[in-house]
């Protein structure tokens, strides 16, 4: 597609359930990032994928969070045993390899996760 696609756009889940969030980056973009934005907070880095390199998982807040990227394209962020503090907007961004140019980073519209 023309942009970064995320699904679902909204997700309400019960505390303790597992959720999967999907990101479909722009075709050909080798770098993919996951961020989350909690109410009143700045965007928080979660994880970064670059091509076939090992992902940078330094931002994942706990071992309940994991992410994978299959075939260098689609990525799935999984949150196990969700807690209310996981409620946030989860944003995905992609960019071409080596791209730090203004048009390099493209963000998806995010998934609004609400844990009740």
């Amino acid at each position: 597609g023309a942009g970064v696609s995320q699904s679902p756009s909204n997700k309400v889940t019960e505390k303790g359930k597992d959720v999967e969030l999907r990101c479909d980056p722009i075709s050909g973009h080798t770098a993919l990032y996951w961020y989350r934005q909690s109410l009143g907070q700045g965007l928080e880095f979660l994880i970064y994928f670059q091509g076939n390199s090992a992902p940078d998982k330094s931002g994942l807040p706990s071992d309940r969070f994991s992410a994978e990227r299959t075939g260098g394209s689609v990525s799935t962020l999984t949150i196990q045993r969700t807690q209310q503090e996981d409620s946030a907007v989860y944003l995905c961004a992609s960019r071409p390899q080596g791209g730090d140019r203004p048009y390099g980073y493209t963000f998806g519209s995010g998934t609004r996760l609400t844990v009740v």
Binding site: A31, G40, G42, Q50, G59, D100, Y103, F107, S109
Partner: protein, 111 residues
Amino acid sequence: EDKVVQSPLSLVVHEGDTVTLNCSYEVTNFRSLLWYKQEKKAPTFLFMLTSSGIEKKSGRLSSILDKKELFSILNITATQTGDSAIYLCVINSNSGYALNFGKGTSLLVTP
């Protein structure tokens, strides 16, 4: 630890007013500073600044970077209700892959 501080956190102005949004930072190996406008959920790119003292301009918006004093400002003149959004200041540094985001300034322009 890299730090990005934006001020004010929120601002309410009337249409036609001029606003100045501030971003100060402390980072190692600074590479660039980016401003984004966030409406609803997805940030859209406004400016990328790498050099001090060079003003970037796009319509009613302009921005400048001071690498000595470690801050940037984003100016919006003749504000319109469509300018209502959260404005994010983001630092890209060579010390890591990730972008460092400020908490944003929430701007509301009233008719």
